[in-house]
């Protein structure tokens, strides 16, 4: 055999060997990207963290690294991120969960098939468009209710961000609720429970780690969202937890500095990498937690 068609066989062998390496390199690309992000953030923010005493990051109450008399209060940026994220989650988690319960347990299959992809369109809207909508439509609307609301407010940005995140919560949540076995629901129905009772008392706990993963990933989205807050929440770092005020988030600060002239190695350049490193650590934590929860859910069901 091996003498009759040696060439094609050797060719096959060579192609096979080559393709393994080509594909393997593709697999490495994702690791290289991660590596690129981590290495860039570490090396470019290093001078900043080396230069700024750690206690000032904690104790300063303002974040003005570019001023002549610089202040390095990271918490002023984190406050903005915290508030916008909080507002967004107050919208996205209840609304997303109710929609997930409705679509998974109540809606007829035909409606669900139509609604789910349409909801996903909501998360496909470019964030700059959401920013436009928050600034030029929602904020004027809110100002009618509360006239003292400034043109830039964390409330407006947070609300729209919440709407953007709803599909993440609903889609993941609905998937995990639907993978709860019917047998479990029947057990509760057989005891005489109603649909909402079964949903809340049996399906919800049964799908909890899946739902928790959805919530955690939603938090990560909100923390990292940039354009909506940069457009509608304002670009000035401010130490406040009042959502009716304007304040910059970690991400908005990076945008604000990037808009200006940014020579390599300047303090501004270093400061956005410092902000980016903090952002990376926060989202990394949430992403890993979400990943673990999702895996646990898939293993359990």
């Amino acid at each position: 055999m091996s003498t009759t068609r040696p060439f094609s066989r050797r060719l096959n062998h060579a192609v096979e060997g080559l393709m393994v390496w080509v594909l393997r390199f593709g697999g490495w690309a994702s690791v290289l990207v991660s590596l690129g992000i981590v290495v860039t953030l570490v090396t470019e923010s290093w001078p900043f963290f080396a230069q700024v005493p750690f206690h000032r990051l904690i104790s300063d109450t303002m974040w003005t690294p570019l001023f002549a008399d610089p202040q390095y209060g990271m918490s002023a940026l984190l406050a903005g991120t915290l508030v916008t994220t909080g507002v967004a989650l107050l919208v996205a988690i209840p609304l997303g969960t109710v929609l997930a319960i409705y679509l998974s347990e109540f809606a007829p299959a035909s409606l669900r098939e139509v609604v789910k992809p349409m909801l996903e369109l909501l998360s496909a809207v470019p964030t700059v468009v959401y920013g436009y909508f928050a600034l030029l439509t929602l904020t004027p609307l809110l100002q009618k209710i509360y006239p003292d609301l400034p043109q830039f407010s964390m409330l407006s940005a947070g609300l729209i961000m919440g709407i953007m995140i709803v599909p993440y919560v609903t889609s993941l949540g609905e998937d995990s609720m639907r993978s709860v076995p019917m047998l479990l629901r029947e057990g509760a129905f057989a005891l005489g429970d109603g649909k909402l009772g079964v949903a809340l008392r049996v399906v919800f706990p049964g799908a909890f780690s899946g739902l928790a993963a959805a919530y955690v990933l939603a938090i990560s989205r909100a923390v990292g969202e940039t354009m909506i807050v940069a457009i509608a929440a304002g670009l000035q770092p401010r130490m406040t937890i009042n959502p009716l005020e304007s304040a910059a988030t970690v991400t908005a600060f990076i945008v604000q500095v990037s808009l200006g002239d940014l020579p390599h190695g300047s303090i501004g350049y270093q400061s956005i990498f410092a902000a980016g490193a903090v952002l990376f650590l926060m989202t990394l934590g949430f992403n890993l937690a979400g990943h673990v929860l999702r895996r646990r859910f898939h293993r359990a069901s």
Binding site: G26, L119, V125, G192, L196, G224, I254, F273, L288
Partner: protein
């Protein structure tokens, strides 16, 4: 409820109570049914309002002049020519990088990778990459592509940043669509003497093109709408010229000079107009937003249809 003395002896009112409880539960269910439907419609309604708003404010502004003019200080004369050309060229770079790498990585992880710690790590890494805020891809591109590799604030840097951003989407879509192919198809190919790559090339890839294409479209739609990473690499500048053309009339007929050209893109242009004080540029912003929305929504719509058709055509 009475349970004194035995089980069978239940007072008459006990059944009445069960009846009442049943009615209560039924009523709660009916209420939730209504609330759920209402909230679903309201949430979808926001998408409608958003679109109507853009149409109302921006549709008037979209005309030939708008599509063929460069940005200008005067709102009425400004247009999106450099923006949409920039977006188009960015997408060529992004697609050219993200699709081959993403599909290769997906095939490798699904069909080749051994089950070990390293593969676990790569999986966690991809899960995390999918959740990394887009602006961090911008910072990476700024540090790495713009300064380290000296690509400058160019289409190449921007396209690469977006390619890294959507890489996880392509990988995940490829893996998921390969995973739906039953194991016996692979076994059938191996039983005929196919090598692993032949099984992939002759069978698995053709059977999963629908799913992969869906993922690629979604990835591109995401990339088109992204602005944060582009702003970070410094793309927000006044660009009143087009990049050099990729096709030449003389040998060697192809030029890659455009890769290193500064650029703007549709979402960047829109951001620029939104963030200007005053109302002059708002119709421009709405018009650019409307174009963006139409592109992303139709791409997503196409992806949904494609996914439906792929699911309907192939039944295992």
């Amino acid at each position: 409820m009475s349970c004194a003395g035995g089980f069978i002896v239940l007072p008459e009112h006990f059944f009445q109570r069960q009846k009442k409880q049943a009615h209560q539960r039924r009523a709660i269910d009916r209420w939730f049914q209504r609330i759920g439907l209402l909230l679903t419609l309201m949430t979808l309604g926001i998408l409608g309002i958003l679109l109507l708003n853009l149409v109302g404010n921006g549709l008037m502004r979209i005309d030939w002049q708008f599509l063929t003019s460069f940005p200008s200080r005067r709102a009425g004369e400004a247009g999106v020519l450099s923006a949409w050309v920039g977006t188009l060229l960015l997408m060529m770079v992004t697609a050219g990088v993200a699709i081959p790498f993403g599909v290769a990585a997906g095939i490798y992880l699904e069909e080749y990778a051994p089950k070990n710690k390293w593969t676990d790590f790569v999986e966690i890494n991809i899960a995390n990459l999918a959740g990394v805020p887009s602006i961090l891809y911008g910072l990476m591109a700024l540090g790495l592509f713009v300064y380290q590799f000296r690509f400058g604030q160019s289409i190449l840097s921007g396209g690469l940043a977006l390619a890294c951003l959507v890489l996880p989407i392509v990988i995940v879509a490829t893996r998921e669509s390969l995973r739906t192919i039953p194991a016996n198809i692979r076994e059938a190919a191996f039983a005929l003497g196919a090598t692993r790559w032949q099984a992939v090339w002759h069978h698995l890839l053709p059977y999963s093109t629908g799913g992969i294409a869906t993922g690629v479209i979604l990835a591109m739609s995401r990339a088109i709408g992204e602005s944060a990473p582009l702003i970070t690499i410094g793309a927000l500048t006044f660009i009143a010229f087009l990049p050099p053309t990729p096709v030449l009339s003389h040998p060697p007929f192809l030029s890659f000079e455009w890769l290193f050209s500064p650029f703007t893109a549709l979402p960047i242009q829109m951001f620029n107009w939104v963030s200007r004080p005053g109302e002059d540029f708002q119709p421009n912003a709405a018009a650019a937003g409307l174009i963006l929305m139409l592109i992303t929504l139709s791409m997503n719509g196409a992806a949904i249809l494609l996914r439906k058709r792929a699911q309907r055509n192939i039944k295992w």
